[in-house]
Subunit: 197 residues, 2 copies
DNA sequence: CATTAATGTAACCCGATGGTAACATTATGT
DNA sequence: ACATAATGTTACCATCGGGTTACATTAATG
């Protein structure tokens, strides 16, 4: 049965499969076409090229939008905000493909990557706004750089979650069991409380 | 002039050059041999294979040992410790090859990578010990997970420095100028002071 | 039903890759 | 000086990569 839409979905599914199995970096148009059981010419015809196929794939699966709280129901107190940050740990740990995309963005600077990073940027700034609104007005706001704080912490979580795929311990903290991640989670909480309170 | 030692150094130098230029991941034995102006057969003969060549290269240039303070002259007060952490920012930012190796370790889990990671692990734990020694004995030590704290912060710095090669802003913090990194540096200081004091 | 456009495949080109075998050159030690 | 081992090169192989052209098949449209 000849059906363009169906074929396109097959191809995107093939990207998904291979990205999970071998990583996005080691992905080629030949391998994807082979996996999809289809001619690679169709990738050029339907998507315009391999880059554009990756874009279609990445934008289809918007994993990064996962645990982002709706803006209107932003955190009203500190512990809500902490929960959101902890949610990032859960999201990263439970979504191998998200780690794969993060890794990919760290090596390639394609136009596709820029698009995706713009979305991730939105996520981060939303989180930052949420935390900024929690700061007590009486506090010396200029002394707390919320943007940089959230940047550093989310960066740390992203790094450690990626690292957990490659080794089982980082700086003495185990990354392959719940205990280690609980320690990281508690440390995150500790930092937020002591810095923002 | 035929000289095995000299040739080996040429080959390792070629790895160095290409790793800076194109990244470790996109490195092949053919390209390295070409860059070194030598036959690739010698790589097999002298190093045993490409993996082993990479190991020789990585272990020769122990960049990661850079800004590690000698154990006997560990930090005696909190601001010394903060300086060490800030030093990590300087090291990462001024050493493109170190960022390249970090990136590589995040994707590959080769036997070579394990060796290097073990060394990096030493660096981190030394830093952690230094900070732990700064904790006031009277303080409730169990409430502060120094290992996890240092892990999270160094992970964040590593991530952001790698990110700076690919994009110029993260979560609203510019990564391509001094101002942004000063903000990160101050935030680091802020966290350490408020958590450990 | 017949024409045409959409969908799909096979085959090829070219360059690069990892890997090996055969051969040439230089150094070394006796 | 000569035999031998170390050093080095050329050439080749099979495979895979991205990319294009020409052709076959099916669906849609009059």
């Amino acid at each position: 049965m000849k059906n363009r839409h169906h074929t396109e979905q097959d191809i995107i599914a093939a990207v998904d499969t291979l990205a999970r199995r071998k990583g996005i970096q080691k992905l080629g148009i030949n391998a994807v076409a082979r996996q999809a059981g289809v001619s690679k010419v169709l990738i050029y015809r339907y998507f315009g090229g391999f880059e554009e196929l990756l874009a279609a794939w990445a934008l289809k699966n918007s994993y990064w939008a996962g645990h982002l709280p709706p803006p209107e129901t932003g955190p009203r107190n500190l512990s809500d905000g902490i929960d959101i940050l902890k949610g990032q740990i859960t999201t990263m740990r439970s979504t191998p493909l998200l780690r794969e995309i993060e890794r990919w963005l760290l090596l390639e600077n394609s136009t596709v990557g820029s698009t995706i990073m713009a979305r991730l940027e939105e996520r981060g700034t939303a989180l930052t706004r949420a935390f900024s609104s929690l700061l007590k007005p009486g506090k010396n706001d200029t002394s707390i750089d919320t943007e940089a704080l959230i940047a550093l912490l989310t960066a740390g979580v992203a790094y450690l979650s990626m690292k957990s795929d490659r080794c089982n311990v980082y700086n003495g903290v185990p990354l392959d069991n719940e205990e280690g991640w609980n320690r990281i989670s508690r440390t995150l909480e500790n930092i937020i409380q002591k810095v923002l309170d």
